[in-house]
Symmetry: C2
Subunit: 462 residues, 2 copies
């Protein structure tokens, strides 16, 4: 029985693929051709990046909201609107780290940046001995011996090169950025610095979110570049009594108002069924957020543009959401999910893993939907997308709760992503026009197929 | 019958894959881990690029030969040797192109470079009207009307964005670089310039090989950047009588001596059966040839290093060939193929498509071998290599003629390749360490499997 069923499934699958092969192959070919020839997403990304950094609460973020609203208003959407949200307003100040020990005859500079939301060091900075720890086990051992009192804890846990997908290396290491200050403050540390979360050896520090949840005392937290981390580690071995002078200034202005930008093209047959594509408008404040997540915004906008320019309209409503403040609290995503919980989201696809050449999609859905979607994979292989796998969607669309829905995430090649992630290197020039446009076309193609084949299914009159 | 056969094949295939899955998965995992953690290929590439440009016949090429010989002599090979060849010795001189027309009030500079082997312009350069042609049809139409006499022909044929793999766009456009001078000289043109072969809009001219074969008169040939091509085209429309002043100086020193660098690790069981991995040591003279083809050299060297460091020796002989002068006449490849025609090459894998993240391999072999190799594909998918397709191998290993052999080519992601190809942008910094090492490990993994499973087959005593 198993053999026959397998055979049946294979034959059915082959027939089904053939049945959609010709017309759907043609549509995908058109979408990719249009994207590669016009490079509309890449042009939009240039405009967005020209605004500069877009940390939630900043004027850059506000300009980005206006840009998103104006740009999508010129497209073929039926409606474009803003959704008000509350976001933090934290502003980075002077930042400096210098090693003052016998290993150098002068204060040796180490490239440093504050983690997002870090409290400020006192005026003039703080000076303290540094204790390097490899991981939390070592932190606990030293902390329980009282050796971390009044020191700067230096978490030197690297992203591990052996991981194949760099996001796995990130997941493995990010706990030191997120919880490092809380954990070190328990043992009386004055501040923490972490090794930047990148797989490159270079001199760019990488910022990112952190928490003080559960901390009795908030201590400043920064990241130093991987070169600085290697240097600091070496100098510490030579001179364990050397000190680090740390200036991490910032100001917390409480909360302010910002917006998600939302655009709808109503479906021709089932307008109440929403197919969402999204990215986040905000970025960290060290660069232009070209990959994170300007790329995701223009992927969604570009894919919508390709689909709306086709002659035959989509059956379901196409929605683009440019989320505000993914980086610093998910405020936009939470507000959006709450405000739309009565709406029927059938699909929500996020692009928030960079503008690199796409290798596929991951899907958070049930196995019936997944199998249906995986049947489309051969249509995408000619364009280099071969991974149609179960997995997470994205931090923003992942907030949406719905029954029988398809949450998905575009999966670009990940090798270069953490070279630029949350660092000064995340600029327009780091995005390749063709690689970006492959992502746009892939998202458009996926939405086209899901709409055409009514995936996930909903009750129909016929 | 067909159904049952299909089922049988599927079940057999599944069983076979399972039978090698555990041990072979483990070996591949080890090879990729070692490559990603040690990054030996990337370190070697840094040394090779530090030499500078390595055009055949240049001192840089000679230094590269010495570097290859010395470096491989320190590895675990049984023998390392040089194979003498004859190569051209052509040296680029001053290069300048300026538009002198009414559209600008001053000579407007256009970024230009000579094609490889171009004859020199006369002392002081030449000045002539420019006629732009889109393709050879237009050339012939205008030429037959006598409109190309004494002009500079400007081939403004772009690489087409709609191609998915950029090598196809290159194949489509490269005929204007290769034959443009010959074709234009037939109509009395004084010189030619082509639009550079890249998909980017930037200001770097791209050189490359050309021919004078069949030309009664050799005329100078250059490439201008894509920005210069767009500017020249626009200025020509405004002012068809404007002139281009073209300085393309070079010297041809005839031929000189150079070398292929060859290293062998004798096989433990079948030393007469040769598994070759190769890249080319020479580069164009505008940059470091990091992707083209420093990457290929260190792919082959790094893969050999990984394989020779394993405890169990390979059954067949492993050979690395660093070819000289792929770019400017294939001299090394031709000499190698001729000198070794009595040897039994079972496998020859080339890496000459850049150091970008690999997407698979193409194979020039019979269908029996191809099907056997394609069964390995699932082992590589976790590392992002999914294409195991029939296709070309490479210009160098493609010279080898043998019976029942596997010629193969590593196929990296191609989107960024022509950004740097034959241009000043092909430098070490354009190569990503992890992306490069994926190629090294993939080549090692493929050779490991072909050796273990005796592909292609040879008569055995048992």
């Amino acid at each position: 029985m198993i053999k026959i069923n397998t055979l049946g499934a294979i034959l059915f699958s082959a027939l089904t693929i053939n049945s959609f092969a010709q017309s759907d192959e043609k549509v995908l070919r058109e979408l990719f051709t249009e994207a590669l020839e016009n490079q509309q997403s890449y042009k939009w990304l240039g405009e967005l990046c020209a605004i500069g950094p877009r940390l939630a609460g900043s004027t850059g973020a506000q300009e980005a909201v206006e840009w998103g609203f104006q740009t999508m208003s010129k497209m073929d959407f039926d409606t474009v609107y803003l959704q008000e949200i509350s976001v933090p307003h934290w502003v980075r100040g002077a930042e400096k780290a210098t090693w003052e020990g016998k290993a150098t005859s002068f204060p040796y500079p180490l490239a440093v940046t504050s983690l997002g939301g870090s409290v400020s060091t006192p005026p003039g900075g703080l000076v303290a001995r540094v204790v390097e720890v490899g991981d939390y086990n070592e932190l606990d051992s030293l902390g329980k011996l009282g050796k971390l009192q009044d020191v700067i804890v230096f978490y030197n846990y690297p992203m591990k090169q052996h991981f194949i997908k760099t996001f796995h290396a990130y997941s493995d290491a990010v706990k030191y950025r997120w919880m490092g200050a809380v954990r070190a403050s328990e043992y009386g540390a004055k501040a923490v610095v972490i090794r930047s979360l990148t797989l490159r050896t270079d001199d760019f520090p990488h910022t990112g979110s952190m928490t003080y949840e559960g901390a009795e005392k908030k201590i400043p937290a920064g990241a130093i570049s991987t070169i600085a981390a290697d240097n600091l580690s070496r100098m510490l071995r030579n001179d364990p009594q050397g000190k680090l002078r740390l200036v991490l200034e910032s100001q917390d202005f409480g909360r302010t108002v910002s917006y998600n930008v939302i655009a709808d093209k109503f479906g021709a047959e089932y307008p109440e069924e929403i197919m969402l594509m999204g990215g986040h408008l905000d970025s960290w404040d060290l660069a232009e957020g070209a990959h994170d997540d300007g790329a995701g915004c223009v992927h969604a906008m570009g894919a919508a543009d390709l689909l709306m320019k086709r002659k035959s309209p989509l059956k379901r409503t196409l929605r683009v959401v440019l989320y505000m403040n993914e980086e610093f609290g998910l405020d936009g995503a939470r507000m959006y999910a709450k405000a739309t919980e009565e709406q029927d989201h059938v699909i929500a696809i996020e692009s928030d893993a960079g503008g690199y050449i796409p290798r596929g999609f991951s899907f958070d859905t049930d196995s019936v939907n997944l199998l249906k979607i995986q049947r489309f994979q051969p249509l995408f292989v000619p364009y280099g997308l071969f991974e149609f796998i179960p997995g997470g969607s994205g931090a923003d669309v992942g907030q949406i709760r719905g029954k029988n829905m398809v949450l998905g995430g575009l999966r670009p090649e990940s090798q270069r992503y953490f070279d630029v992630h949350h660092a000064a290197t995340d600029v327009y020039g780091a995005v390749h026009p063709r690689e970006l446009e492959f992502g746009t076309a892939a998202m458009a193609g996926l939405i086209y197929l899901l709409d055409k084949y009514d995936i996930p299914s909903r009750p129909r009159k016929n």
